[in-house]
């Protein structure tokens, strides 16, 4: 060509370009298909020393750290060797979380609130982590880590008060239901905007390091939201400043109707995204309470030893609808969860404890009944205050906390409302 470029007929990509749009393995009516999900047998993934160089963990981004095998036995180097009491408390917290979710989902259907989101199938992640970290550490959760509060014994009635925006709602009816906040329980105020809190957790951890403190942060993000720029900001800053933070990615396969492949999940693993930033990376069976605990302990010890951040992908499955506004039967095979190769975290921990002789069907039934009763009692307490619209904080609180101080505009506007 006169300009020196290669003539079209000689270009190597002679076939016409076409735009690629990824699609999930199955849609409604199709058989569930998880063949593209990389799995490893329980016990197979090596456990590097907590002091290992980041690059010596990068193989684990493509592995799957699992402790519980098909028969429910704990195997391999990641076995955290937890005492049965710890395991039972974890199981009970998971059962309680599920009972709470069921009840509040029903409360929405009964018109008692405007919105609800369940974490069914993902309980192990929040709960096992909450039991490794302390309340002095700060978690930066998404809307699917209610298990943190429940594992720490946060009052269920207070959660319900928030869900009902009633007069006892600790955040004064300002937030959408389930967007809890509790400094005392190490639970940062949830944002409805995805991804925003991920780099904030890094900043919190940098502050802890700056002050010579010993507290660490834990951040959560969904598979879908890893596409946001904030995810990448978090990894850059965490790596550069060696921030004491655990960067959790909860890969529950779906982001509303969009499969994880739309966030690049089919091309690599989410854990592997940490490799390019030079961060240590673990990919973990998120439905295996023991594996979640072990990986969290590894990252926690590393962070507390001033060795910086770890990226952990938890592979799980969003068993329920995205939220009460959603209907998954319109976009995914109905029986995907039943066929999910990593199963149900509650069933798996139950099987493990039973195998140890530390649990049985009777205790399971009792724990389930006890959870339902706890939730019911909390429900009575919260409903005595009132459900959405029956009771609410005083209207003048709408005008408070916009700033620390007074602002004439807000004062005048409050007067206009007459409160």
């Amino acid at each position: 060509m006169p300009d020196g470029s290669i003539p079209p007929q000689d270009r190597p990509n002679a076939p016409k370009l076409s735009l690629h749009i990824p699609e999930p393995a199955g849609r409604p009516g199709d058989a569930p298909d998880f063949s593209a999900l990389p799995l490893s047998p329980a016990g197979a993934a090596p456990r590097p020393a907590v002091e290992a160089a980041a690059r010596d963990t990068h193989g684990l981004a493509y592995d799957l750290i699992r402790v519980l095998d098909e028969t429910g036995q704990a195997v391999g180097p990641w076995n955290p060797r937890l005492d049965p009491d710890h395991l039972r408390r974890g199981l009970q917290a998971m059962i309680l979380t599920r009972a709470f979710d069921d009840r509040m989902h029903r409360a929405h259907r009964q018109g008692k609130t405007s919105f609800y989101m369940k974490c069914t199938g993902e309980e192990a992640i929040a709960i096992a982590q909450a039991m490794v970290l302390t309340r002095e550490d700060m978690t930066f959760p998404t809307y699917r880590q209610q298990g943190i509060l429940i594992a720490r014994g946060y009052p269920l009635a207070t959660m319900m008060n928030q869900i009902y925006s009633n007069a006892s709602d600790p955040i004064l009816g300002r937030q959408l239901p389930i967007m809890y906040s509790s400094k005392e329980f190490g639970f940062f105020t949830i944002s409805g905007n995805l991804g925003t809190q991920y780099p904030q957790a890094v900043g919190w951890a940098m502050a802890s390091a700056y002050k010579g403190d010993d507290r660490i942060a834990a951040a959560y993000i969904g598979d879908g939201a890893t596409a946001e720029g904030d995810f990448h900001n978090a990894l850059t800053f965490a790596a550069v400043y060696r921030a004491p933070v655990i960067l959790n990615i909860v890969n529950n396969q779906w982001a509303i109707s969009t499969f994880s492949g739309m966030a690049g999940g089919g091309l690599t693993t989410f854990a592997a995204k940490g490799i390019a930033y030079g961060l240590p990376t673990l990919r973990v069976d998120g439905n295996d309470f023991l594996a979640v605990t072990a990986a969290t302990q590894w990252a926690e010890q590393r962070a507390r030893s001033n060795l910086g951040a770890t990226v952990i992908e938890f592979v799980s499955y969003r068993a329920a609808q995205h939220s009460t506004s959603d209907d998954p039967s319109r976009y995914r095979p109905a029986d995907e969860f039943d066929n999910f190769p990593l199963g149900d975290p509650i069933a798996r921990l139950r099987q493990h404890l039973t195998g140890l002789g530390e649990w049985d069907d009777e205790r399971q039934a009792a724990a389930e009944a006890e959870a339902v009763e706890q939730v019911r009692a909390a429900g009575r307490e919260a409903e005595a205050v009132g459900t959405l619209g029956q009771s609410r904080p005083s209207v003048k609180t709408m005008f408070e906390d916009v700033y620390a101080g007074d602002d004439w505009r807000i004062r005048e506007q409050r007067q206009e409302v007459g409160v």
Binding site: I21, N193, I256, V417
Partner: protein, 337 residues
């Protein structure tokens, strides 16, 4: 002519544009197979194929940026930001790039993108599903910002937006997707069916951007409103017993200044209504324009009815939302002033 709600009208608008022009395509979070969380893009993937209506990663910055790139190539992407409350990661791309590419390249490169996004309150959506951020865009030279208030305009304006050679922010008042909600939240909800503005022609037509619509003629005062607030203002006029001239601006930039000035000169009184917080809201611009151009005709101070200068609170939906009572009070004040 079929009676459509706003969702169906918007769907028909995108469908019509895609059918007429292979350079038009639609993408956004959950907008492909599923058809969008509000169903606006329902069926488009089935009809026009995977590469013309597809899902996007959860990255508003990426959605706007790739739309810009496509537009620079010569396509006319119509993208959805799931809620206006989530548009901010795309703000840099809109403000620093889409708005300025024509100017900085001496007209050589252009960005004919349409960014559709549901906005506004009244749905108990809390602070992240209720915001009205239009004035963050009207402030930016190079962007157009429009807000339809009914199915007929929704389709006609969307077709005009997609055909427009400049970037257009297309704010969809989600509270009136299914019916002309007038702010009386304790009364039964009316659907669009049977409404004359729900008569939506099949095929192509446009409602030019920059033309206001007089929804009600009147002689006592002029109401300037857009989106859901048009219907609230009509109800408020009834409540106040005022012969209000209610103007649906439809397009904030470009603005139909002639319609505004003619009406205010006629009535001598003006009430400005929007859902967004008051400070630096679009009402401030409207008040300034009316004051600058109609000062000698004004018989009373201009009244502004707006959301408060607070985040949008979940529990106080109806204290925050500027309902017909508040608008009616402002009308009475305007009549007394």
């Amino acid at each position: 002519m079929p009676s459509l709600n706003m969702i169906q009208a918007l769907n028909s608008g995108i469908d019509t544009a895609m059918s007429a022009d292979p350079n038009v395509l639609s993408f956004g979070q959950d907008t492909g197979y599923f058809g969008g969380v509000f169903r606006v893009t329902d069926g488009l993937q089935r009809k026009h194929g995977l590469t013309r209506s597809f899902d996007a990663p959860i990255a508003e910055g990426g959605i706007v940026a790739t739309a810009i790139g496509m537009a620079v190539y010569g396509l006319r992407p119509c993208v959805e930001i799931q809620f206006a409350d989530y548009i901010y990661p795309g703000y840099d791309q809109l403000v620093s790039e889409a708005a300025k590419i024509r100017y900085r390249s001496g007209g050589e490169f252009t960005t004919p993108i349409t960014v559709r996004t549901p906005y506004g309150g009244g749905i108990f959506g809390g602070q992240t599903h209720s915001q009205s951020p239009e004035s963050l865009f009207t402030h930016i030279a190079g962007l157009k910002t429009v807000v339809p208030s009914n199915p007929y305009d929704a389709k006609g304006m969307l077709l005009a937006a997609i055909a427009d050679d400049d970037p257009v922010l297309f704010f969809e008042p989600k509270r009136i997707y299914n019916g002309p909600f007038d702010g009386w939240h304790d009364r039964p909800v009316k659907p669009w069916a049977g409404h004359e503005l729900a008569e939506v022609p099949e095929g192509s037509y446009t409602v030019p951007l920059g033309q206001a619509r007089t929804m009600r003629e009147g002689s006592d005062l002029t109401v300037l409103a857009y989106g859901t607030m048009v219907w609230v203002s009509l109800a408020a006029a009834e409540e106040a017993g005022v012969d209000a001239e209610v103007i649906d601006l439809r397009s904030l930039v470009p603005l139909d200044i002639d319609a505004i000035v003619a009406s205010v000169k006629k009535t001598g009184r003006c009430v400005v209504v929007h859902e967004a917080p008051r400070t630096s809201g679009y009402g401030a611009e409207l008040s300034a324009l009316v004051q600058e151009r109609c000062f000698h005709h004004l018989e009373a101070p201009i009244q502004r009815v707006t959301g408060w200068d607070t985040p949008y609170p979940h529990a106080f939906e109806w204290e925050y939302f500027p309902g017909p009572k508040r608008v009616a009070e402002a009308m009475r004040r305007a009549m007394e002033g």
